[in-house]
């Protein structure tokens, strides 16, 4: 491979890995939107809280990663339930803007709690996955990247199977499609809402742990959640497949743009690129690649 080609492939592969984590978190976002019509602006804070809980369990309580991971999942389920029960259920039927403001408020609260407990210093995960880089025909990828990609894909696959085949998954799809009809089939919409928030919190925490493992964590990890917006806008707000493809695409695009354009702008392109993409999509394809046209734009 020519050096130019090699550079390109390298950028795509790294972008793909980060993109897979975007996909995972985007999936959580879309799930809540589909089932409950709520745009959750606290998605990034779910990522943040999940990552910190896992880190703390490992560092402070000295338990193994596997256990810490498992307990973080349990914690996320509880967090999802609490958030749904305490802040969102009372708002059923309120104007959409009210609900959005509440999720923004929730984001601030969660962020403040994290700052209170863990400060703003960057913290580094103890190495969980092997770091040694692998070399495949000149393409160098750290093993931790491959593990991350593997984990993200695994969780997406589990979710896809759950959504397609489990009774709860089918009930969720039914509720997303037609709430009244679902209720008249005996499906409890409240239960479906609660499950949606739980799953969303869980996949976000997984995303936080994976990305924290690569970059370390501090409060700005919540901004990671912001990148979910370009991903879901690209994919279409109400499309699960769209969320996955949107996440991967944004990951690759930002890495390519960063890799090629940073030298002209003195860095930071990667941070801006997804939002440039976002604006462009809104101009040319406002419902995303896989979205439904009648969705309310806010």
């Amino acid at each position: 491979m020519s050096p130019g080609m090699l550079h390109f492939v390298q950028l795509v592969v790294t972008g793909l890995v980060i993109g897979s984590v975007y996909s995972l978190v985007a999936l959580g976002f879309v799930l809540i939107y589909k089932a409950t019509s709520v745009l959750n602006f606290a998605q990034g804070e779910f990522v943040l809280v999940g990552a910190y809980i896992c880190l703390d369990l490992i560092m402070r309580f000295q338990i193994s990663f596997v256990w810490a991971f498992f307990l973080t999942m349990v914690f996320s389920v509880i967090l999802g339930l609490l958030v749904e029960r305490l802040t969102l259920r009372p708002l059923i039927g309120e104007p959409i803007i009210t609900v959005i403001m509440v999720t923004i408020g929730l984001a601030t609260v969660l962020k403040s709690i994290v700052t209170l407990f863990w400060g703003t210093q960057i913290k580094v995960f103890p190495p969980i996955f092997p770091q040694k880089p692998l070399n495949y025909q000149g393409i160098v990828v750290s093993q931790v990247y491959l593990w991350t990609l593997g984990f993200a894909l695994l969780f997406m696959a589990i979710f896809a199977l759950f959504f397609k085949y489990s009774r709860a998954g089918i009930a969720m799809r039914a509720t997303a499609a037609d709430q009244q009809a679902s209720q008249s089939m005996g499906i409890s919409v409240k239960k479906i809402f609660a499950i949606s928030w739980c799953i969303s919190a869980v996949v976000s925490a997984v995303g936080g742990i994976l990305i924290g493992n690569i970059n370390g964590i501090n409060i700005t990890l919540a901004d990671f959640g912001l990148k979910v917006f370009p991903a879901v806008i690209l994919g279409g707000l109400d499309s699960i497949v769209g969320a996955i493809i949107g996440g991967l695409t944004i990951g690759i695009l930002e890495n390519l743009m960063g890799g090629y354009l940073d030298i002209y702008f003195g860095g930071g392109v990667k941070e801006v690129a997804p939002f440039v993409v976002l604006v462009v999509i809104l101009m040319i394809k406002p419902y995303g690649l896989f979205g439904t046209a009648e969705i309310e734009r806010v």
Binding site: R167, R173, A174, A177
Partner: protein
């Protein structure tokens, strides 16, 4: 014996009174028709029973149990199933998936594990599929479209699928909101036959809202006539057909009215 009993139901939207003190009682096993002009409040009665609307006053009891404050999904679990005036199917799913969702209520295995093919869940799934395939799909003659996406089907067939889905809930009582609306003669006759079959073979009580007077007079045991949210008559079809008030209120007493009432 009265299976479903409604007492003095009142419902309004802002200044508009939709139901003005409605009382009715449906016996186990009968076909009970509710008729009345558009906007009379027929659909509102069903929506109150299903708890989509919350009446300001009144009591609803099912099999002796007061259900006025139940959650909507609990109503379904009691054995009350319905179809909708404007079809409410899951448009993106197949006919079979739609119907199986109707049977959702009856699956006993874990909510999260169900459908994953092992043990109890698998056995249940198989039993369910057999029941759905052999009984409901056969009964309603929709074998040919089992695997089709609902949204691609013509209107008449969608109405039939919606009935199949309601039937999969193994209901004790079936509330049908204009099941023949928009159908041609042949489809209407098929639908009437299905309703009679369901009632006779499965012993399901039927509450039927319908505009086609021919059908109503043919299949019903009793007819309840509603106008502006008030009851104006109730009785066996032959009595309703000759009721002066019904003829006047319902159809303005014209000659066309008489032919529409099947006379």
């Amino acid at each position: 014996m009265a299976q479903l009993e409604i007492q003095d139901l009142r419902l309004s939207f802002g200044g508009l009174t939709a139901l003005n003190g409605i009382s009715l009682s449906v016996d186990t096993g009968e076909i009970f028709a509710i008729i009345g002009p558009n906007g009379a409040g027929k659909t509102c009665i069903l929506n109150c029973i299903c708890r989509f609307y919350h009446p300001e006053e009144g009591r609803i009891t099912f099999e002796g149990k007061e259900i006025t404050n139940f959650a909507p999904h609990k109503i379904a679990r009691l054995g009350i199933a319905r179809t909708f005036q404007n079809i409410e199917l899951f448009q993106g799913m197949t006919v079979l998936d739609n119907i199986k969702l109707g049977a959702h209520v009856h699956l006993q295995s874990g909510f999260l594990a169900g459908g994953i093919y092992w043990g109890k869940a698998r056995k249940e799934e198989t039993r369910l599929r057999r029941e759905v395939e052999e009984q409901i799909i056969d009964l309603l003659e929709i074998q040919a479209i089992r695997k089709k996406i609902v949204g691609t089907l013509p209107y008449g067939l969608q109405k039939r699928v919606e009935l199949a889905r309601a039937l999969a809930m193994r209901p004790k009582i079936l509330l049908l909101d204009e099941p023949m609306a928009g159908m041609n003669l042949e489809e209407t006759e098929d639908m009437a036959r299905f309703i009679l079959d369901i009632n006779e073979e499965r012993g399901v009580t039927i509450v039927l809202i319908e505009h086609d007077m021919g059908v109503v007079m043919d299949v019903s045991d009793r007819v309840f006539v509603l106008d502006f949210g008030t009851k104006i008559a109730e009785g066996p079809p032959e009595e309703i057909q000759n009721n002066e008030r019904v003829i006047n209120a319902y159809l303005g007493g014209s000659d066309a009215a008489f032919s529409k009432l099947g006379m």
